[in-house]
Symmetry: C2
Subunit: 272 residues, 2 copies
Amino acid sequence: MCFFVNQWYLYIYTMNQIRTVSIIGAGNVAFHLARAFVENTIQVNQIYNRTLQQAQKIGEAHQIKYTDKISELVKSDLFVIAASDSAITELSLHIPFDDVMVVHTSGSIPMNALRGDYKKGVFYPLQTFSKGRNLEYDEIPIFIETEKSEDEKILFQFADRISNHVEIINSEQRAQLHLAAVWVCNFVNHMYYIGEKLTTDANLPFDYLKPLIEETAAKIKSLSPYDAQTGPAKRADHIVMQKHLELLQNQNFKDMYEKISKSIAEIYKNEL
Amino acid sequence: MCFFVNQWYLYIYTMNQIRTVSIIGAGNVAFHLARAFVENTIQVNQIYNRTLQQAQKIGEAHQIKYTDKISELVKSDLFVIAASDSAITELSLHIPFDDVMVVHTSGSIPMNALRGDYKKGVFYPLQTFSKGRNLEYDEIPIFIETEKSEDEKILFQFADRISNHVEIINSEQRAQLHLAAVWVCNFVNHMYYIGEKLTTDANLPFDYLKPLIEETAAKIKSLSPYDAQTGPAKRADHIVMQKHLELLQNQNFKDMYEKISKSIAEIYKNEL
């Protein structure tokens, strides 16, 4: 009797587990996901990209079959569309299977951009992905969403094999998180770019700024950004700010300097 | 004979070495410098601040004598003015000794803001100083400048006792370095502030962003900021940028988003 119960349980369980994956897309996110899946002994059946060369690069690196023919997609438990935002809907229409799950990896696209009769979800890893970086995948938070509540656990268990930080959030929260990520990653990196430009213009190595960059990022682990703020805008030091505007040659840099300083100054104006 | 030569050499050497220090000011920079000096067994004779309580706090923490009476300054080999930019000249006029060295610690003030008949210099540690942070002082770059070339070695040797990265730069380079620091530290921290605001507004913990913040700072150790850039502005993804502007409620945030995105987009426009 016990034997039968176990068999039945096993049957249900295996139907509800993601064991095989296909990756649609071959950009930076696809590159790192392929590596994360393989490192965690998840079977990747196939990688598709409309440009064969890109699919081939990732495929050959990880012994994954690859194709540039969307009609040749083979069946997997999960299809991960790691493509540009504008390509997601179009690609989602080409997945010819009903009894599979399809997720996209975009921060800014709602789940309902996926069009098909399959199970739908989102698998959003919050990280900046550049090729040539070795990432600790288990430290990258993954934010998941599923159309049907019964699929939540399945996608959660799958994401949990890769990351120690899996969270369930809805599309609105994800959009807000993605916006926040633009500030703390993309915009921060642009500040680094300007820092590099200014130091090299003064014949100084960018390396001089690196301990400061490191401490600025480390500081907010123990202080809130509000408490960590320093600098002329916080002190409303108009003499220094005027000097800085005069030193800046580039009009975009001047505009940013003014707007960012104004925003900081308004937050701290009551503390002076 | 040899004995006399050694004695003579020792005499010259000790005349040209900084053995004792006084600190003028008791803000965040003074706080950390006092700790760095004491940790490196440099004798700090006195700390002065016009508000006794602040001088007392640092003084008592490190067994340093303190005063709020500028007329009671005792003589040291080196006076470090770690005060606000606008107070430097005024304070420098109150140092009543000729055969000492006086330095300020400001990134944006030229050396000639110091007025007196003593040896003049600048001692600029490039770091963001908040109380309540433990810093590795030997990793903080210190940028020095002296009025007379014969003093350069003396100040260098002194700075070298504290930091592994001592560099000689002029006032113009220092001003540019300070401007660069505003971007990679003060402005970056403001981006973190906005990231925190956006996540908490969506009922999400700021912690979700921390692995991304860490990787963004770590990435530029191996990639240039130019190569490390990602995000909608680089891709000229106007759909996402429009959505983000709609999500932002705060007008300052909208203005910054537009200006920073414009600057990024112009740098990468020829790559699309």
